[in-house]
Symmetry: C2
Subunit: 191 residues, 2 copies
DNA sequence: CGCCGAGTTGAACTGAATCAAGAAACGTGG
DNA sequence: CCACGTTTCTTGATTCAGTTCAACTCGGCG
């Protein structure tokens, strides 16, 4: 169970006691109601959030339609890295899908810790690499899988998503319409 | 112009003179003929390569067909991060497309330097984040663009690829058949 | 000269999008 | 606790983008 940012970081490498204390010292526990947006296009993201409880999605608009690009569940970290790193206004939205218990870290403070604690920066690099590999795998699934196969893969890797999230969000996540996803589901159900 | 690994790293953040000297001390210049494979499925990747001259592609097989997942040109770094980090056998291939001048760094030696030089680890983290963001953008292009739009986008972002690489490699990169890409090109040419 | 790989083109087919209508589920206020 | 409106999901009919299979062109090279 991931209850603190230290827990989260330590999945990717060891941290000294000192570093863990420093990380905890900049963490704040917050709780927010479902539906709340923690990022809106036009504003800049300055914090990252560890999900203790609840879920969220990252989305954007294209030709008037919402497209969900990411889901966040318990133990995962909510962020728009693009906005955080560029310090520019985001083009994206992040919305809570349920009531959430979160731990917030203001990014500039984490950056300070990265500079002070080499072990933390190392773990940060490992996390970024893991994120890169995950995105790359998703790209490969667009190259080689059909819509139905991508859905089946999501069932395996993110069973949470399928049970707790709207069909429309899931369908845009795997790059199809919700009509098509509905057909895929009914086809699968008939076995 | 990127002539050394230090040049490459410094695109993402400053390095001390000492760190740069350390990086150069583990770099080796090599040149290899076009068509050579520097990674074959079943073997483990242990080095990364900066491209001074030439090009390469990263590919794999799916249902008997080659699918190209990445291109590498001058100033870019060739690696299969999955194999390098897991230290396991790769499922992928990396093939040089032209005669190449490369700079090789054996990964375990770079890892040592990461541990010794905090500034280098910081830059490494920035690079990983940039790679993540790039892959994420590619995912968004699968979510919202048609095959033709993805090709036009590749024309903008990687004009090199379109001129120097086989149609078949490009088509699998953007997730379509080479037949379809040929049609797209002839349609575009008619304007 | 003849072969070979790369690219193009045509015809038939298929997976997925679109448009549209209806059914189910959900939340809110009376 | 029911009635209503709204949102979410399903289903059918049609259209369209992209695949498949196959034949043909073209340039390079032994």
């Amino acid at each position: 169970m991931i209850n603190t940012f230290s827990d989260y970081f330590e999945k990717y490498g060891a941290l000294s006691g000192e570093t863990k204390i420093a990380v905890e010292s900049i963490s704040t526990h917050i709780s927010l109601p479902g539906n709340e947006k923690i990022l809106t296009a036009g504003s800049t993201m300055r914090s990252i959030y560890l999900v203790l409880n609840g879920s969220a999605r990252f989305y954007y608009y294209h030709e008037g339609k919402e497209i969900t690009n990411q889901f966040f569940f318990e133990g995962e970290v909510i962020a728009d890295m693009e906005s955080i790193y560029s310090k520019k206004r985001s083009n994206y939205y992040i919305q809570l899908l349920e009531n959430c218990q979160l731990i917030e870290i203001k990014y500039p403070e984490l950056e300070k810790l990265y500079r002070q604690h080499h072990d933390l920066e190392h773990v940060g690099r490992m996390i970024a690499i893991a994120c890169y590999l995950e995105e790359n795998e998703r790209n490969r699934s667009y190259q080689m899988l059909t819509a139905k196969e991508r859905y089946l893969k999501l069932l395996e890797t993110h069973p949470d998503a399928v049970n707790r999230v709207n069909l429309g969000h899931i369908s845009s996540y795997i790059g199809i319409t919700q009509v098509q996803l509905s057909r895929i589901r009914s086809e699968l159900a008939s076995f």
